[in-house]
């Protein structure tokens, strides 16, 4: 592994790796659905040191990457309005829409601002009452409690100039969608630790039972990943299919119930389109009826919008885990983090950017099959 000094305990890392080698007797494919985990696996080269045939498949775990093109286009359509201050996490600014991206619009004079919490957007709305402040509410269950509180807060403060463009997605429906695919070769999942810090893992128990697939709640540090992989392989090798928790220091079975209450108050479950994956029933959140007045898509009437994907980008196959970035003709040539053709090259949580930043080139399958 490349950066052993980043490990809390290099000796423990080698012990875990030895155990993984010792227990693995068959080829297995494990999927992580967390951009932070993908980043660690690729940056540390964890996939390169696993036993022959034990394969890590990088799933749709990057919230920026799975945000559908249609939402990026809606964001752009709203951001160009002169009365609007459009706020977003920095990662979203460079995601290419059909014809532009938020950063280019900002360069051309649109009032687009980077924030690190939706509460900053609420504060801007309070401080600048003449501006229509819109927050781009993307993400998984980890960011949903923050966005819920932003809406609750804006409601309490009576801020008529605040709204959110909602593109929230949920992890368990994406997992079942992947498992329902007949070509799915996934034997076990590593569940995203911080998604589970909010939601707990009860909703994963029926998935493990129904699909006979081990699910290990795992953190994002190198040692967490090695231990999560070991726990998943042990289950597979012994024929078990349970939900286990590797990330005990931050995750409890019921998650954070205060945060879940806020999510349920402000949002309701809805169908969502995942970029590269398609429409998945009940796979996201939309504003509940009581809070619909905070819906930016309705406020600015951008519900119908035509989109145009870049035909050279294979982001869909990347996000489903069926292709690796190094199998794309554009990777590292026309498409780099400076000139991204698709979302997975933009965010540091995206698989393409993780590969590029780790200097990955050429024949990727040799590490899995050699």
């Amino acid at each position: 592994m490349k950066y052993v000094e980043e490990y809390r305990d290099p000796q423990l890392a080698h012990q875990l790796l030895d155990q993984i080698h010792a227990v693995t007797t068959k080829p297995w494919s494990l999927m992580e659905v967390c951009g932070g985990q993908t980043n660690t696996i690729v940056r540390q080269g964890i996939d390169d040191v696993l036993p022959v045939g034990l394969r890590m498949v990088h799933g749709p775990g990057c919230p920026v990457c799975v945000t559908p093109l249609e939402m990026v286009d809606k964001a752009c359509a709203i951001a160009v309005r002169p009365e609007v201050t459009f706020t977003s996490y920095g990662d979203m600014l460079r995601v290419p829409g059909s014809t532009s991206d938020l950063l280019s619009l900002k360069a051309r004079g649109a009032d687009v601002r980077v924030v690190y919490s939706p509460m900053e957007a609420v504060r801007i709305a309070r401080d600048e009452p003449s501006r229509q402040v819109v927050f781009f509410a993307v993400g998984f269950e980890t960011t949903a409690p923050a966005n819920a509180m932003a809406v609750i807060r804006a409601h309490e403060l009576g801020l008529a100039n605040f709204s959110i463009l909602v593109s929230h997605v949920l992890v368990p429906p994406a997992m079942t969608s992947i498992l329902d695919d007949e070509e799915c070769g996934i034997d076990a999942f590593l569940a995203a630790g911080h998604v589970c810090a909010v939601m707990g893992w009860r909703e994963y128990e029926p998935i493990a039972a129904r699909y006979r697939v081990p699910i290990v709640v795992t953190g994002f540090e190198p040692l967490d990943l090695l231990e999560g992989i070991l726990m998943a392989v042990r289950q597979l090798e012994s024929g078990r299919a349970e939900v286990e928790n590797q990330y005990i220091r931050a995750v409890r079975r019921n998650g954070n119930e205060h945060a879940q209450d806020a999510i349920r108050r402000v949002f309701q479950v809805a169908d969502r389109t995942w970029r590269g994956v398609g429409r998945i029933p009940d796979s996201g959140l939309e504003l509940a009826p009581d809070y619909l007045s905070f819906d930016a898509a309705k406020r600015f009437a951008v519900d119908d919008i035509a989109t145009l994907e870049n035909p050279a980008c294979i982001a869909g196959a990347i996000l489903r885990g069926t292709k690796l970035p190094t199998q794309c003709a554009m990777y590292g040539t026309a498409c780099t983090p400076r000139t991204p053709l698709g979302a997975p090259m933009v965010s540091s949580e995206g698989t393409c950017a993780a590969f590029y930043n780790a200097g990955r080139v050429g024949e990727p399958l040799t590490s899995a099959t050699a």
Binding site: V114, T143, A146, A197, E221, S348, E349
Partner: protein, 94 residues
């Protein structure tokens, strides 16, 4: 945005009904909403996502995690924004 950074709560205040804390992330301080961790007090360690504490963490674990995140290029800036005083930072834009 899903990484989650551990930090130590150094102050707790009420902002018009909302519980807010100042959290120290290895020297970088930010205002953090504590609404979802009502049990947390000054001195406790929490995992913070996009300005919200989501769970409590043991001190030793928090410090080691912070070391690892500090070793990841750009991770702190990406989650917390450029180093500047807590509060009104809006990302240097506009």
């Amino acid at each position: 945005m899903c990484l989650g950074i551990p930090g130590r709560v150094t102050a707790v205040a009420d902002d018009a009904g909302l519980r807010i804390g100042v959290v120290d992330f290895g020297g970088v301080r930010r205002d953090v909403c504590l609404a979802y961790v009502p049990e947390v007090e000054v001195g406790d360690y929490v995992v913070v996502h996009v300005g919200f504490a989501i769970s409590r963490l043991d001190e030793a674990e928090a410090l080691r995690t912070l070391e690892i995140i500090a070793a990841m290029p750009g991770a702190m800036e990406q989650e917390l924004g450029p180093s500047s005083p807590s509060g009104v930072e809006t990302g240097g834009a506009a």
